[in-house]
Amino acid sequence: MENVMTFLPGILAGLQMTLGVFFITIIGSVPLGILASLAMKSPYFTIRWLVNGYIWIMRGTPLLLQLIFIYYGLAMVGVSFTRFEAAAFAFIINYAAYLAEIFRGGLQSIPQGQFDAAKVLGLSKGQTFFKVILPQVVKIVVPSFGNEVVNLVKDTSLIYVIGLGDILRAGSIAAARDVTLVPYLIVGVLYLIMTAVVTITLRASEKHLNVWR
């Protein structure tokens, strides 16, 4: 028990970092992902080409590598981020690419008739998107979005590579110092709690969205 008290503060500080990266990624990547999914349907070839290239790179290389490039690589060419900024930037652009693919799928499954009905009623493009299309896309994408969010909880552990102290790193330090697996056990339980909270929240929103079909 005495042991636990010695490494618990470190793990809780790491938890703060993990949650920080988690929330900033959600807040940043959702709007960017929606924007990218719309850009994929742009009438301009150049825009579609650029967005598809961006998504290809983001999905085609490991996030770990992207973190390294953004923190160390960009510093070499004179763009310097703090560690946290680099992590936030890498996670946001990476997750936005995955979310863009998910939103694109949702957008494609909205029947043309919905766009037509909105147009005939005189709704502007913005009104059509926010009041008619987006609410329907949200319902369609919630399950796959949930998968990405659960992945994100665990992916936050990658930030150790640019020297940020998340819970896993705090756990490793404590485990090495005290030669015990207990810190890892605690870290594992914390991840389980976080993913459980995410799952329950998403289930609740799925249920809420089921009032209409």
């Binding site: 029947p111 008739g113 919905q114 037509d116 009905a117 147009k119 005939v120 009623l121 005189g122 709704l123 502007s124 009104q127 009041k131 008619v132 609410p135 329907q136 319902k139 009032v211 209409w212 079909r213």
Partner: protein, 212 residues
């Protein structure tokens, strides 16, 4: 009176109609007849601005407009063949969405209007239901209420009786006749001749009168 002149539409080489003209007198019901797949729906989509035409003019209130100008399309309400109600909104919210977003009506004002329309179309009890909870005939009437909420000068129906049973068809007839009694001009595209006979003042035979 509404006059459509010289309306032409083609997809690539395929001419759907050429130099089409038709007249809709105020407060009358015009039925556009013809077999499926002949281009009747395309005609109605062109009138409501959903499809671009190659050429065409429309005269409304003594003024001449080119076809599919917003000034024209905003005066034409459309009832879709498969209704296209917004599934995420209740019946009431389907009706008040456009008056609030487009005409910037207050919610109270829009609701009052919706109450009238719901009562008129026998939908008061369904006001808080979602589209998936409605029968075909009820969906049809919600579509009509949603279009009427924007005070169109003309209501256009695309195959309003397809997929409806006899009883629901009778209700559509009753609604169209009561709108006619109120002086609303209506255009109905249909291949159902018995239905057309019951509602129409004038008919337009697509096969005979359309040049290709």
């Amino acid at each position: 009176m509404i006059e459509i002149k010289g309306l032409s539409k083609q997809y690539g080489e395929k001419v759907i109609f050429r130099d089409l003209s038709l007249t809709l007198k105020d407060g009358e019901v015009l039925a556009i007849l013809g077999p499926s797949g002949i281009g009747k729906t395309t005609l109605i989509k062109t009138l409501t601005g959903l499809e671009a035409a190659q050429s065409g003019e429309i005269e409304m209130d003594g003024q001449s407009y080119s076809i599919s100008e917003p000034a024209v399309t905003s005066k034409i309400g459309l009832i879709f063949q498969d209704f296209n109600l917004f599934p995420h909104l209740t019946v009431r919210d389907n009706i008040i969405l456009a008056p609030m977003s487009v005409k910037k009506m207050s919610k109270d004002e829009a609701n009052l209007k919706a109450n009238d329309l719901l009562a008129k179309l026998g939908l008061t009890e369904q006001a808080d239901l979602y589209p998936y909870q409605l029968s075909g005939g009820q969906k049809q009437r919600v579509g009509i209420a949603r279009a009427l909420a924007m005070d169109p000068q003309v209501i256009a129906y695309d195959e309003p009786t397809s997929g409806l049973d006899e009883k629901a068809t009778e209700q559509v007839v009753a609604i169209m006749l009561s709108l006619k009694a109120e002086g609303v001009s209506q255009i109905v595209v249909t291949h159902d001749l018995t239905f057309a006979e019951k509602v129409a003042d004038e008919t337009f035979d697509f096969e005979k009168e359309v040049h290709r």
